[in-house]
């Protein structure tokens, strides 16, 4: 039997390993879409917030798994929510793709620079600009619910640790800690993808944005279809 400290380390390295393998393939496109949507603006803080939100959800799920000690019980309860999140993620990506290319008249929902007139519109703009970066945290929290094989695997470890804990509270804390460790392990790979997709250095970005927009719309449709079938 592994000690608690060893489990934390094992699950962190597991997060690191699946991050550079599985997550880049499955979550990388979402992160790349977020990066592209920033249109060259500094993306570190939004991406840190996105990852923070994602890890918060992992931690909360880990806490619940640890407290109940049952993986299947909790996942059965959240299955329909995950289906909705999968569809929602697809819709977000489609909207971002359309907005990025300028095919949506409202501009980007995550802080584009459209200039509405009138007191109400200006107020909304100011509000949306303030919220634009902060939006990435709740977005990360929501997308943290996306169904994902390695996350499930880490949650099994959290539930198992909870099952072996002396009390529900202790199980909950261990589950929380394990999932935070796992989430932290997945951050470097997704930050790398975010950095690579940051086009701030490119002078003529228009064509790239148009191509990326089309890919984002296709990707979004794929997510929606997967969500409906899930």
């Amino acid at each position: 039997m592994l000690s608690t400290e060893t489990i934390y380390f094992v699950i962190f390295t597991s997060g690191l390993a699946v991050g550079f393998g599985h997550c880049i393939g499955m979550c990388g496109p979402i992160v790349a879409s977020l990066s592209l949507n920033l249109k060259g603006r500094s993306g570190l803080i939004p991406h840190l917030l996105y990852n923070g939100g994602r890890i918060t959800t992992y931690g909360l799920l880990g806490g619940v798994m640890g407290a109940t000690g049952s993986f299947t019980l909790v996942t059965a309860r959240i299955a329909s929510l995950q289906k909705i999140v999968l569809v929602f993620a697809g819709i977000i990506i489609i909207v971002m793709g359309l907005a990025m290319a300028g095919w949506l008249p409202l501009g980007s929902i995550f802080g584009d620079h459209y200039n509405p007139e009138g007191l109400l519109s200006r107020g909304f703009r100011r509000l949306s600009e303030t919220k634009s970066t902060a939006t990435y945290y709740p977005l990360g929290m929501l997308l943290g619910l996306l169904p994902c094989g390695p996350v499930y695997t880490a949650l099994i470890a959290a539930a198992r640790a909870g099952m072996e804990a002396q009390s529900a509270l202790r199980g909950s804390l261990i589950g929380l800690g394990l999932m935070l460790s796992f989430g932290l392990g997945t951050v470097p790979s997704l930050l790398l993808v975010a950095k690579l997709a940051d086009l701030g250095w490119l002078k003529r970005r228009d064509i790239i944005y148009k191509v990326s927009s089309i890919l984002m719309v296709i990707l979004g449709i794929y997510f929606v279809v997967k969500g409906i079938r899930y």
Binding site: V10, I24, G28, G149, P150, A157, V211, I218, Y230
Partner: protein, 145 residues
């Protein structure tokens, strides 16, 4: 030079976005070739050196995201250390999902575990039964979502 490197990396990202869609479409069609065991029908057998190993998974049909009981039976020598099972997907790192087996009779070991569901639609999983200090044998099978 720096520009070329960055442009190459950018293209890799764009390709990633494209290929994130494609592989799963082909994988979800048809039965993967590597499947060597039908866990829904009954126990699967494999051998490790001179030891015959049988793996059974209950309840049947074997479904993902359900509590499952894994039973490993040996024919021949009894292992010195308890065996264990690592569950994973062929060709994809899904993290460590280990089923701890405990003695449940003469040459029989049993443990609880869960096979998780991959949103990509892939259904092929492998159970790697490891006998410490001896070796490991893999069973590849499809699960039901």
């Amino acid at each position: 030079m720096k520009l070329v490197v960055k442009a190459t990396l950018l293209m890799a990202i764009l390709c990633l976005m494209t290929f994130a869609i494609c592989p799963t479409a082909s994988n979800s069609e048809g039965k993967p070739k590597r499947v060597d065991c039908d866990v829904h029908a009954g126990p699967c057998s494999g051998s490790l050196e001179d030891i015959q190993i049988t793996l059974d998974v209950e309840p049947k049909p074997v479904k993902a995201m359900k509590d499952l009981t894994f039973t490993v039976t040996f024919v021949g020598e009894k292992p010195v250390t308890n065996p264990y099972i690592d569950l994973g997907m062929p060709g994809m790192n899904m993290g460590r999902n280990r089923v701890i087996l405990k003695p449940a009779g003469d040459l029989v070991y049993r443990g609880e575990g869960v096979i998780v569901r991959c949103p990509s639609g892939r259904r092929t999983w492998k159970a790697k039964v490891t006998v410490p200090d001896v070796g490991a044998v893999e069973f590849v099978f499809d699960v039901i979502y």
